[in-house]
């Protein structure tokens, strides 16, 4: 009987378990989980702060999941991988042998070395349920909250705390919010949706140093706070593989089978640097769908299957107070700006293919565009004039519609 070990208990780990079990119902699966709780929906921690969900509803899988899939969960952290002896050593010193190993360790917050940060008592990250519970307990109607970082995580945290604090200020060194996925005027729209709910922004500015409950900014501004949230960025947890001699480059290098450079060691999710189908380059795609699909692919291959996952693309659905921004692919090539009322609709065409898009406001049918990017559907094979305004199957050939609407897909 084969022994599988999975390091990490997030969604990539779940994908891996399901992948293994789709091939091998018998083998022993040991999951090493560093978070002390069964898998939950990490992206929902801001909705939890908002009161829109609760720990029960946040369960990513039912309570019986691990038992039903015959997995043994060890709530302990892995400290080292020995690829020669094929063992994983736990922090307790115990060593667990594997035939096949998947590293699904996710990422950790990256905290720059701010001067005086150690004097700040009330500082929080925003990555885990524990972070959310701690913030939930700390915030009150009199709290002034300062969030460092206007990326996805910082802004979701701001939305989650809206209405629960006296003030919320978000600062970022970048001149706009969500700078990794949105351009200037799109970012401004999303920023406004938060400002309309009282969130203040200090952009193109960053903290130079902290002292207890004060941030001294590069601009000379002085910001007082009761609660500091650090959401500057994340780093893939790739050190276990790196220290074992596996190839890492700000993320564990994986091929399209999710194999690392170490024999019988796979990696999946936020810790892995894999193939991005939208650019043909390797990158970390730190989004939940990617983690699940990479995990599943790894699991199938660990169990002896032959699965390729080469359809990963960057994509994001993010919204604040009902204003949604949906993005995918890369913004390279010719821009097609389509009137979209109060919102935005930008399609990018590169080399005869749809390379990316930004939709703000009306999300309907976005997946039709995403599929074209993922499947590399030539723009001239569809009625692009129609597709620009309405992403629908009507823009495709009658044959394609017959297949998708009249057959099992």
């Amino acid at each position: 009987m084969k022994q599988y070990v999975i390091i990490g208990g997030g969604v990539a780990s779940v994908g891996c378990i399901e992948g293994i079990r789709s091939v091998d119902k018998e083998g022993r699966i040991v999951v090493l989980s560093g978070e002390g709780r069964p898998v939950y929906c990490r992206p929902l921690i801001s909705y939890f702060l908002q009161g829109k969900t609760d720990p029960e509803k946040m369960k990513y899988r039912p309570d019986e999941f691990y038992a039903e899939n015959n997995c043994e969960v060890v709530y302990e952290k892995a400290a080292a991988i020995d690829p020669a002896r094929k063992t994983v050593t736990l922090e307790s010193g115990e060593s667990i042998p594997y035939d096949s190993l998947c590293v699904a360790t996710g990422s950790s917050p990256f905290v720059p070395a701010f001067e005086g940060l150690d004097t700040v008592e009330n500082k929080y990250g925003f990555m885990t349920m524990d972070d959310a519970l701690a913030l939930d307990g700390a915030v009150g109607p009199d709290s002034d909250v300062l969030i460092v970082g206007a990326g996805l995580i910082g802004l979701k945290c701001a939305e989650g705390l809206c209405g629960r604090a006296k003030s919320i200020t978000v600062c970022d060194i970048a001149p706009r919010v969500l700078s990794s996925i949105l351009d200037g005027d799109c970012a401004a729209l999303m920023q406004k949706s938060l400002e309309d709910h009282g969130v203040r922004f200090e952009l193109s500015d960053s903290a130079e140093r902290f002292n207890i409950n004060t941030a001294y900014m590069k601009s000379g501004k002085v910001l007082r706070f009761d609660i500091l949230v650090l959401a500057v960025g994340v780093r893939p947890n790739d050190s276990l593989v790196g220290e074992a001699g596996g190839v890492c480059d700000r993320g564990i290098r994986v091929d399209t089978h999710m194999r690392t450079s170490l024999e019988d060691v796979y990696a999946a999710g936020d810790c892995a640097r894999g193939y991005d189908a939208s650019t043909g380059e390797d990158r970390v795609l730190a989004i939940l769908p990617n983690a699940v699909m990479q995990g599943r692919c790894a699991g199938i291959n660990m169990a002896g299957g032959d699965e390729v996952f080469d359809k990963a693309i960057p994509m994001n659905a993010i919204g604040f107070f009902g204003l949604h921004a949906l993005t995918a692919g890369s913004y390279a090539g010719e821009l097609h700006e389509v009137p979209a009322g109060e919102g935005v609709k930008r399609l990018y065409v590169n080399g005869g293919l749809l390379s990316g898009f930004i939709l703000i406001g009306d999300a309907a049918g976005a997946g039709v565009y995403t599929a074209m990017i993922r499947e590399k559907t030539p723009v001239d094979s569809v009625d692009f004039g129609l597709l620009r305004t309405s992403p629908s199957m009507a823009a495709f050939s009658a044959q394609y519609r017959r297949k998708t609407l009249g057959e099992v897909v």
Binding site: A317, G367, L405, V408
Partner: protein
């Protein structure tokens, strides 16, 4: 499993399927009360360009991208093969709308998204759109 299939050639573009769908999922016993003078949120939609017209609803894919992409665990493929949504778990993030290749998941009335669940979860028991289609352009069968 049985699925809803659409025969484009026979679709009249009458939109009746949308009304039957919205009625079946309204939970109300009276059609006029459910539909009259109201915005309706059908889970099947007639797409009509003037040249082609067809009805579109969830394909209940064998390997559904929406389920794998759902950040809240609300979308699942149940043992029968149908793709179902737990509206209490859904937070309305729209990731499923971002990934469904057919545009078959849509924004719902109360924040959560909505999609065809083959009328298995409502009082209808089998797809209302199929029963209401006057030209058998929508059928419910095994293929």
């Amino acid at each position: 499993m049985k699925r809803v299939f659409v025969n484009e050639e026979w679709c009249l573009g009458c939109h009746l399927c949308e009304y039957y769908c919205a009625f079946a999922n309204s939970g109300l016993a009276d059609m006029a009360r459910a539909l009259k003078d109201r915005d309706i949120f059908p889970r099947i939609r007639v797409e009509d360009t003037g040249k082609v017209t067809y009805a579109l609803s969830c394909r209940h894919c064998t390997d559904p991208l929406c389920v794998k992409s759902c950040i809240s665990g609300a979308l699942t493929k149940v043992p029968t093969g149908a793709v179902c949504i737990d509206k209490d778990k859904c937070v309305g993030c729209y990731t499923c709308i971002l990934v469904c290749p057919y545009g078959a998941v849509t924004a719902g009335e109360h924040g959560a998204v909505q999609k065809c669940e083959l009328c298995l979860e409502n009082a209808c028991g089998s797809p209302a759109c199929v029963r209401g289609c006057p030209n058998r352009a929508i059928v419910y069968e095994e293929r």
